[in-house]
């Protein structure tokens, strides 16, 4: 096998597992990741000097987290792990990165994108005030910094993270004011059989609910968020119950989210194909049964492609690594690396999780109606401070057919997050104004740099070169 430059972007479960498989086959993959340590978000490690153990940090997932961390650490030397590295552009077979703040260019032959996900949100009045965070953000504050986002926290939304993070907060000694699920009780009950027969995952959810109940923390279904109370920061949360009655809860922090959305900006820049996933009500990057994207030499794994959680991400990481090995052996026939059977095994394991994935999607459905009903005076795009009313007016006046045109007319999605945060809600609003399905509203195209890059880094590099 000739020396191939295999680069993995992302050191979460998908990227770590892929790197281990490739290292096991004698390749020395380069693993690029923004964080200072491997683990991704789900298995994120706490900074040096912190003393909490794996059980405290990862709960039920402690065993898996420890196994992956230990294996990855033991492979040091066989994996070229480069933490502190932001990949901000892809031009053909070249990655443009900032490594510890300095610009570099990296060529690759095979690229695995394992870029993970972030919380999917829907704006609601007051959501930009200090004290409102995503569910994932609230979890990171606790896991990575041993902090709660406030003294008394309301959790709401529709996400597997909802009972989990609330239970983690309660266990860590934070006061949980309430857990409010936008999913109606009947929908949750309908999804329950699929959740509970789909393996351990559903039962973990039951345990979190039991733990919340044991602490007498209210858990409500079928709620609708109304607004944050407070002028300069969170002082309370108002919601409507399933019968439409308004309730107010005093709190100084709110964590919310509606499942996860893929960080697919790099896949977009690489030219990968996308498809709308009706089950999850969002776009995903297209991959074949082995994790190959539509672009030759570019592979995909984990939540960055399609939301499925850490266990699926790890299997998908292995699968993509084996696909890379199989494709390399095609280059050099005669050295069949025996990947066929292993690939098939990965595919079977992933297929075995399909039922659970669907059950989770049903148990925590994306409440698109909330996005369509965002009040006109509510900020939609928090980067550019554009309200939903301004966005609707721009659509009505200028008649854009997709979100990219709407962005040009309204600045929604034009700010520094490139629409990561407001994109899903903006597409829902555009779709309802135009009277079409949300997939017809399209998705915001990614532009380099995928995250803001400081000019100073390039100025210094140019000086060094001169």
């Amino acid at each position: 096998m000739r020396a191939e430059r295999v680069v993995i972007v992302g050191a979460g479960p998908a990227g770590m597992r892929a790197a281990l498989v490739l290292a096991g086959a004698g390749l020395r993959p380069v693993v690029l990741d923004e964080a200072p340590a491997s683990g991704g978000q789900i298995y994120r490690r706490q900074p040096p000097g912190f003393t909490r153990g794996h059980d405290a940090l990862y709960g039920f997932e402690a065993g898996r987290a420890r196994a992956l961390h230990d294996a990855f650490d033991a492979a040091d030397g066989r994996i070229d792990h480069r933490p502190g590295t932001l990949v901000w552009n892809i031009e053909g077979r070249r990655l443009q990165v900032l490594h510890e703040g300095a610009p570099q260019t990296l060529e690759f032959d095979r690229l695995l994108l394992a870029t993970g996900a972030m919380d999917r949100v829907i704006p609601f009045p007051g959501w930009t005030l200090p004290g409102v965070y995503t569910l994932g953000g609230a979890q990171i504050a606790l896991k990575h910094q041993a902090c709660a986002i406030g003294r008394r926290v309301v959790f709401f939304g529709a996400s597997p993270l909802l009972p989990l993070v609330a239970a983690q907060y309660a266990a860590a000694g934070a006061e949980v004011a309430a857990v409010l699920d936008t999913t109606p009780m009947r929908a949750k009950l309908a999804a329950a059989p699929g959740l509970l027969t789909g393996g351990k995952t559903g039962w973990k959810g039951v345990v979190y609910l039991a733990r919340l109940a044991a602490r007498r923390i209210p858990y409500r279904h079928g709620i609708t968020p109304v607004e944050v109370l407070g002028e300069e920061s969170v002082e309370g949360f108002a919601y409507a119950d399933a019968r439409g009655r308004r309730h107010e809860i005093a709190c100084d922090a709110i964590a919310f989210g509606y499942g996860l959305k893929s960080e697919w900006q790099l896949a977009d820049l690489a030219g990968c194909g996308f498809a709308f996933d009706a089950g999850n009500h969002q776009w995903r990057v297209v991959a074949d049964d082995a994790g190959r994207s539509t672009v030759p030499g570019v592979y995909l794994a984990g939540d960055g492609t399609r939301i499925g959680g850490a266990d699926l991400a790890e299997i998908a990481g292995e699968r993509a690594a084996r696909a890379i090995l199989a494709d390399l052996s095609d280059i050099d026939p005669g050295d069949d690396l025996g990947q066929g059977a292993a690939l098939a095994a990965c595919a079977r394991r992933i297929a075995g999780q399909a039922g659970l994935r669907r059950a989770v999607e049903r148990a925590f459905p994306f409440p698109a109606h909330l996005a369509r009903a965002i009040p006109d005076d509510c900020i939609l795009c928090r980067c550019e401070a554009v309200t939903a009313g301004e966005f609707r007016a721009a659509i009505a006046r200028l008649g854009p057919h997709d979100v990219n045109r709407a962005k040009a007319f309204s600045r929604v999605g034009m700010g520094r997050c490139q629409g990561r945060v407001c994109g899903p809600a903006a597409a829902e609003i555009l779709a309802v104004v135009r009277g079409v399905g949300v997939e017809e509203a399209g998705r915001l195209r990614s532009q380099p740099p995928v995250k803001p890059v400081p000019i100073a880094a390039f100025a210094d590099a140019a000086e060094g070169a001169a």
């Binding site: 552009n89 040009a408 000019i455 390039f458 070169a465």
Partner: protein, 376 residues
């Protein structure tokens, strides 16, 4: 078959301006645009409304266009985001100073007085944030910039309000002679008209070639960077005689940086790619000229497809092979300011076959046969 007095191919600023001026004179117009109005160069350029440092042949047109910019709100019923902040082009070293001296001699010889030399003291007073190595500048106080997408759309909207018809997205094929009129095949059927106007930008060369008058047009993809918001620190648009840069801060605080750095144009796929290797040098220049930019963050970059001619001035005027066809393309990355007058010139040519403005230097005949290659 649908017909109009004038069939315009291309919905950029020149196509939209042509539609408006034709309607103002009572001519019926259909504009055919393969994507949407302002999709390429007209929508993604830096928006410079600049007479400063124009090619001498373009100066009379730029002057006439500046008069229309002065009353742009009356013309298109939208202020187009037009701001007369001034445009400045600095000298940073001896070559820049020499270029300014040469430029001043040229302007004096031609009798132009609109570009003013300013000493370093005045430059630093006008642009306090600029680096102190600058040695002086040429300046036009009432040049400025506008919002390119908004402007182009405003021309389209006003033309449509006056009865121009826009077909977009709709591809047009090369015009064919059919007796006394021209026929233009499109996705939505064939159009016919006495006049066809080629405002197809980077794609204008293909139309000219189909009419038997090929031109050496090059599709280019000028790149732009935009930063996160910063406290206001510069009013005028700033360029340099020594380095490739164009620099301006928008009213919302974002800084837009360009200056002719090129990405990769793919006119066949409609895509333009940013190439960051080149942009390192632009960033170096930026920080050199404005030290405050060290603290800036790039949030977006883009490129748009534009047609560049080898002599960097456009093709404007009647076809030499196809009577009734008028060309206005190849503006070589500085056609935005000329937009308002460009449409008026074409309307003149449609109406009377002539215009009062001196357009001889832009004749397509300059590229005929071997003449161009021998001259260059």
């Amino acid at each position: 078959m649908r017909s109009a007095d004038v069939i315009v191919i291309g919905g950029g600023i020149h196509g939209c301006s042509t539609a408006l001026h034709c309607r103002l004179r009572g001519l019926s117009v259909i504009v055919v645009e393969k994507d949407h109005v302002a999709r390429h160069a007209s929508g993604v350029n830096a928006g410079g409304v600049r007479r400063l440092n124009r090619h001498p042949a373009e100066i009379p047109l730029a002057m006439a266009s500046a008069a229309l910019w002065q009353r742009i709100g009356d013309l298109v019923h939208d202020d187009c985001g037009y701001r007369q902040t001034g445009q400045i082009r600095v000298a940073e070293g001896a070559p820049g100073l020499a270029a300014i001296a040469e430029r001043r001699r040229l302007m004096e010889g031609l009798g132009y007085t609109h570009e003013r030399w300013i000493e370093p003291d005045e430059l630093f007073a006008l642009v306090p944030a600029i680096a102190r190595h600058c040695l002086g500048a040429l300046y036009i106080a009432d040049d400025g910039y506008a919002d390119p997408t908004r402007t182009t759309r405003a021309f389209a909207r006003r033309a449509a309000a006056l009865g121009a018809e826009f077909l977009a997205p709709c591809r047009a094929g090369p015009p064919r002679r059919a007796g006394s009129v021209w026929q233009v095949p499109t996705d939505r059927g064939t159009l016919s008209g006495a006049h066809v106007v080629n405002c197809a930008g980077a794609w204008g060369g293909a139309i000219a070639a189909a009419l038997g008058e090929p031109v050496p047009i090059e599709p280019i993809a000028p790149m732009m960077l935009v930063t996160a918001r910063m406290a206001p620190f510069v009013g005028p648009v700033v360029g340099s005689f020594d380095r490739m840069i164009s620099f301006k801060q928008a009213p919302n605080g974002t800084v837009v940086i360009g200056g002719g750095w090129r990405g990769r144009a793919e006119p066949d796929t409609n895509r333009a790619h940013v190439e960051f290797g080149e942009l390192h040098r632009l960033i170096h220049t930026t920080v050199g000229l404005f030290p405050v930019m060290r603290g800036a963050r790039i949030t977006r970059a883009w490129a748009g497809i534009e047609g560049a001619m080898p002599d960097a001035i456009p093709v404007i005027g009647p076809s030499t092979t196809a009577p009734g066809v008028i060309h206005a393309f190849g503006f070589s990355a500085h056609g935005f300011q000329l937009g308002p007058i460009g449409g008026a010139i074409v309307a003149d040519l449609v109406e009377s076959g002539a215009t009062a403005l001196p357009i001889a230097p832009f004749a397509i005949a300059r590229f005929a046969g071997q003449a161009w290659r021998e001259a260059s």
